[in-house]
């Protein structure tokens, strides 16, 4: 019985130590656009990957046309008519539009590819969808909006697609381009395709969806009809998270002295950013994934090119063009991608800790290896790195310990401005608490910390002040006395209440 319905039935997905999805259920009615909203890390991506079979789920089932599936894989989901359009484009830039759309089909004359048939078929779908793109154009010459449309047409071209999942489809589009996308979505709806629409932007949810389901911490909070919902209601559903009370409290107040000031920074995904950091302060950078938080701190650090803007360290204008300049000025960055940018995995803990320091520790270019060892041991003890010896390769340690090594490296280099990008990503609860305690200790000692984080409780628990970033701009500044989850989320998603 093909009634074109898809029901997600009590799905549970766990990773070691983390519950990503916990008893998630919702149903997708035929021909509806169903929005899925939630904070960073609420489980939206895990959910769509579970539906499409990209990752296996542990418990629960997916019911399609009344048939229950307790296991899903990419081939099965496709044969059932589920297609996913991911945030990143999956097109081949050096092929034409028609080739991209039809290449996986069997439109062959003998063993040759029938390009004429490709073009004809593509044109037919384009006409029906009212899309004005030349099928002979190469994909690399298309705008982002056009690419997005080609992705959609590619998904539906075979005619078997009944359920289309769109993951942040507007992320790469400009405002004018978004309207073209909405139009296509409406036409798809008319063709009877049901859609799951994932977006950070609440105004889009109101624009396109029929119903909306809110996820929080891997749980479904509720499903409501969009025309009965208000922004305020959705935000309240998204943020009703219990905060753990285990964050270490600040004892000494933040100083008045400004140690770092950025004025009018301009760079890739950084739009006229200015802010101040005070001595001993923990400054949180909040925002949705892709809002430009990482880009801003990397821009301050000189890791990526900066077009404009000045940086003042301790009140003095400081030229920071490369990370080396930043390190010399007393800054240090612990990157969000520990494995690729943070830790030298193949080298020992000792080598990692002193890597920024070896030049300072050397006389006539020869490194004082005894001193080097002492310092490495000192910081390894200070940060309570759990290891039998500092000669163990960093790659063999747990994520939490690797993070500590990365922080030890920064502190050993004598930094007084520490930039932590997602300091607790991918590490277990016990290690997280240790990192928090460490951050608090350091800030009490007068080290100023910038913390970029996608975890709301961490931001609220640790920060003295929070800057909210949206589309590369700082859209709000909230003091400890006034910030709460709702205010941050409203600013971050650009919703108007």
């Amino acid at each position: 019985m093909a009634d074109n319905s898809l029901v997600v039935n009590h799905i549970r997905k766990t990773y070691p130590g983390v519950v990503a999805l916990d008893d998630v259920s919702f149903d997708l009615r035929p021909g509806e656009v169903h929005a899925l909203v939630g904070e960073n890390g609420a489980g939206k991506s895990t959910l769509i990957k579970s539906i499409s079979g990209a990752i296996p789920f542990n418990e629960g089932s997916i019911i399609i046309d009344g048939v229950e599936y307790t296991h899903m894989d990419p081939i099965l989901s496709r044969s059932l008519g589920i297609e996913v359009i991911y945030q990143e484009f999956n097109l081949m830039p050096s092929l034409t539009v028609a080739e991209n759309i039809c290449l996986t089909d069997e439109h062959k004359k003998g063993s040759l590819v029938d390009f004429a048939a490709f073009r004809k078929r593509t044109q037919a779908i384009f006409d029906e969808m009212n899309i004005h793109i030349d099928p002979n154009e190469y994909v690399k010459f298309l705008s982002n909006a056009q690419k997005q449309l080609v992705e959609i047409v590619k998904a539906i071209a075979k005619g078997t697609c009944r359920f289309l999942i769109l993951d942040e489809p507007t992320a790469a589009l400009t405002v004018a381009e978004v309207d073209v996308l909405y139009d296509s979505i409406k036409r798809l709806k008319a063709r009877g395709v049901s859609m799951i629409y994932i977006s950070h932007r609440l105004e889009e949810v109101f624009e396109v969806s029929d119903r909306v389901t809110v996820l929080r911490d891997g749980k479904t909070i509720g499903t409501i009809n969009t025309n009965e919902a208000t922004t305020q209601q959705l935000i309240t559903m998204m943020v009703g998270r219990e905060l753990s009370t285990e964050f270490p409290k600040r004892i000494t107040p933040v100083g008045d002295e400004v140690v770092l000031e950025a004025k009018g920074l301009l760079g890739k995904n950084v739009n006229h950013v200015s802010f101040q950091l005070k001595k001993g302060e923990i400054l949180g950078f909040a925002g949705l994934v892709g809002a430009g938080r990482t880009e801003i701190v990397r821009c301050v650090f000189g890791a990526d090119g900066r077009l404009e803007g000045d940086i003042y360290v301790d009140g003095k204008l400081t030229k920071i063009k490369t990370p080396a300049d930043a390190v010399n000025a007393g800054m240090s960055l612990v990157s969000e991608d520990r494995k690729l940018e943070g830790v030298l995995l193949g080298m020992s803990i000792k080598s990692n800790i002193v890597v920024s320091l070896s030049k300072k520790l050397s006389k006539y270019t020869v490194v004082d290896s005894k001193k080097e060892r002492e310092i490495a041991q000192e910081y390894s003890d200070k940060l309570r790195i759990k290891t039998p010896s500092i000669d163990v390769p960093a790659g063999s340690m747990s994520g939490g310990n690797q993070q500590k090594v990365a922080m030890a490296k920064s502190l050993a280099a004598g930094c007084h401005i520490l930039i932590l990008d997602e300091p607790t990503r991918g590490i277990d609860v016990g290690a997280k608490r240790e990192i928090y305690n460490l951050m608090r200790e350091l800030s009490e000692q007068g080290i100023s910390i910038i913390m970029v984080s996608s975890e709301m409780d961490e931001l609220l628990g640790m920060s003295d002040r929070v800057l909210v970033v949206r589309e590369g701009e700082i859209v709000g500044e909230l003091d400890r006395s006034e910030f709460n989850q709702e205010k941050i989320l409203i600013l971050a998603s650009g919703a108007e209440v």
């Binding site: 490369t322 390190v327 990157s335 940018e341 920024s356 070896s358 030049k359 270019t365 490194v367 280099a413």
Partner: protein, 328 residues
């Protein structure tokens, strides 16, 4: 009890073999060629010959090692050797600087430093793959070499520095001693100076090193210059050993450099690990195979077959091992 003793001894033995696998290979090779060639291979004179041949490879191999430590390779070191040999021979056999060999060494070194720096500049500025960049440069350099000598060998060189390639100290040939000195210096640079630390950090994880405040581009450029200087030294010694400047004298070194380093245990394309000791293992393995096959009387083209095969085999082994570690 006895059995347990045997087991622990056996395990210790296995561990020793695992960490010194190169020594095992060398032993197997020596035994193999001794069985097949007897005293023609296994003799003091022949080992001196192997050492003398290995010495030249060792000098430029050290340069390659330094580069591979930073995660790069220079396939033009053979080309640099040919070019240097010709340029140097031209300089000492013509009237520039009154045929002063020391002044000529100075000139070729400066030229090669500039060359190495340009190579490093191209690789670091464009972020292109160092293998393709240096292969291209190598071809250019070969062109210049032949233009400079008009495809002729510059023969019968004689100068007061001939001892660099010819003499002995006791039974040890001078090139071996020069190679030894160069190796000690480079070992010191790699192990004890901050430059060495920076090179290893750059090779291990370039972006992490850069964010840690290391000017990784400069470190890479310095590595290119060091490699170039090593090739210059190797070339001058080689030129005096054969007492002539030959436009193709570096050809066999182009590949053997890389071969010696990878066989010795330095990862191609990963960086961060390895040292002079790996080069020593590598040049002996390559040297023994080359020499053994010659002594066996095999057609020299079989050497190419062996060398290429070994290179692909060792790099493949390294990649497979890394893939396994990743899965674990």
């Amino acid at each position: 009890m006895k059995e347990k003793d045997f087991k622990t001894h056996f395990n210790n033995f296995l561990r020793f073999i695992k960490s010194n696998f190169n020594l095992v290979i060398i032993t197997i090779l020596v035994v193999f060629f001794t069985i097949f060639c007897g005293s023609r291979f296994f003799s003091f004179e022949n080992f001196i010959t192997i050492a003398r041949q290995a010495a030249i490879l060792g000098m430029c191999g050290c340069g390659m090692m330094v580069l591979m430590l930073t995660g790069n390779v220079d396939m033009s070191l053979g080309g640099v050797m040919s070019f240097t040999s010709i340029l140097y021979s031209e300089l000492i056999s013509s009237d520039y600087y009154n045929k002063d060999p020391i002044m000529s060494i100075f000139v070729v070194t400066i030229v090669n430093i500039i060359y190495g720096y340009i190579g490093g500049l191209i690789v670091t500025k464009t972020k292109m793959n160092s293998m393709i960049a240096t292969l291209g440069l190598s071809t250019m350099l070969n062109g210049f070499t032949y233009l400079l000598c008009q495809s002729k060998t510059i023969g019968a060189l004689n100068s007061k520095l001939v001892w660099l390639g010819q003499g002995y100290v006791g039974p040890v040939p001078n090139p071996v001693i020069i190679c030894g000195i160069l190796m000690v210096i480079l070992d010191f640079i790699c192990k004890r100076t901050y430059l060495g630390r920076h090179m290893a950090a750059t090779g291990s994880n370039s972006e992490a090193a850069r964010l840690g405040g290391i000017n990784t581009d400069r470190v890479k450029r310095i590595a290119f210059v060091i490699a170039s200087i090593c090739a210059t030294i190797a070339s001058i010694v080689l030129t005096y050993r054969v007492k002539s400047g030959q436009p193709n004298c570096g050809n066999s070194y182009q590949m053997n450099n890389l071969l010696a380093c990878t066989v010795g245990g330095i990862s191609y394309g990963f960086g961060g690990e390895g040292g002079v000791i790996n080069v020593i293992y590598g040049i002996f393995i390559v040297g023994i195979i080359t020499n053994g096959m010659t002594v066996m009387g095999l057609n020299q083209y079989w050497q190419y077959v062996m060398q290429g095969g070994i290179l692909v085999f060792t790099v493949a082994l390294d990649y497979l091992q890394r893939a396994k570690i990743k899965v674990d």
